[in-house]
Symmetry: C2
Subunit: 233 residues, 2 copies
Amino acid sequence: MGVIRGARERARAEVTEAIKDEARTQVLAEGAARLSLRAVARELGMASSALYRYFPSRDDLLTALIVDAYDAVGMAAEQALDKSGPAGTVQEWIAVCQAVRRWALAHPHEYALIYGSPVPGYTAPSDTVGPASRVVLVLFSIAASAHAAGVLEVSTETDVSADGIGPDARQLVRESGHDLPAAAVPGLAAVWAQLFGLLSFEVFGRFDRVVDARDDLFDRAVLDLAHQAGFRP
Amino acid sequence: MGVIRGARERARAEVTEAIKDEARTQVLAEGAARLSLRAVARELGMASSALYRYFPSRDDLLTALIVDAYDAVGMAAEQALDKSGPAGTVQEWIAVCQAVRRWALAHPHEYALIYGSPVPGYTAPSDTVGPASRVVLVLFSIAASAHAAGVLEVSTETDVSADGIGPDARQLVRESGHDLPAAAVPGLAAVWAQLFGLLSFEVFGRFDRVVDARDDLFDRAVLDLAHQAGFRP
DNA sequence: CCAAGAACGAGAGCAGTGCTCTTGCTTCGG
DNA sequence: CCGAAGCAAGAGCACTGCTCTCGTTCTTGG
């Protein structure tokens, strides 16, 4: 994010943003699969070929949207954690979960973009791993402060222990700067996955006409997950 | 599934199956979004227009694959329940979860087809609700026998109770023929969603380089979910 | 200050897609 | 046996992602 020097770079930044905006409204209206470069260009009054000066391919445009979405949900989680203050581990956990849920329900298509099935041959570019881990870092932060306060119960069983975690998880814990026992990671990952299972079912309409009291259902499950994560209030 | 009368109907059934087979291998190889009617027709040595005699549109072909996938995972779950026999509620639950997981890991693209993000403007046709509920009925069956044995603990709290469940859930419980208290449904739905959260994270590669001991992680989480579902061994 | 060169927009074009329509041919049922 | 229905094939339409070329415009080094 360097300073914009000339008029040309300024124009380029503006056009880039306009393309992303239009693409976002298309994704919002029709879903990611129906995103069309030509339609974006048409709506912006430019030739479709000109768009390739800004994004080398359709997938790159999608990646830009994915990064933005990760940043949005990550920011929502971070703000929820900040606002909840030092209100106890479980309270922080609840606040973050509810913030993520609010964001997901308000932006279903963007949620699908990042937490739905990965697109065809699409393998997440390295640009996305940073923004994607923002929301994981929030979870680490909660768990670390719980650990510091002595209210994090880490499973000492041998089956799921520190040996079972991978290099990316180790690196993320190290870079987070938090004092978090590695043995806590598998449990947190499991809880994390289950949380997004709840969100996916709700966002993708699998609870429609099945469960009406979804707020209560979610709050209850989040409490159970807090217990499962080892947060002892 | 009526009896095939003439040679013509037999040929039609065969061609229909061949189209589905080829489509399945394409989905397996490239994912659902890259499924191309023309490519299927090309591979089968027929004109693309001829394919429309068998499937009115690409979405209908996809729907047929989705129904098959639902049936496959439903059958896997049913067989696991049958084979586990009357071995106790938690054992049955574990067996079914592991069977579903095995199927999901063996058929990632088909899993994405049914439990990933719904395709663009695609709203699930009514053909899919029947096969989709097969696997849910397995869960109901486990819970009902647990209830009969007196080892199902149903939350008596007022927040998530029988009032919060929707018409489809009521109908499914009624049609299942099982004696299952309606108040148990929300908890089961939550546990169900969380199970598929675990599966989705694993199938979609979100645990790659993060958690290595995925078998143990899954088994441990399934046990926690059994507890959360109210299965008291 | 001005010319070389990079960045840019537009258009044509290629190969692919879903889908429709028309044209013949085959098979079935009255 | 003959009309009707089912079927395969081809041409064609509108659309897609993407590439290449050709002028134009802006930036910048000498």
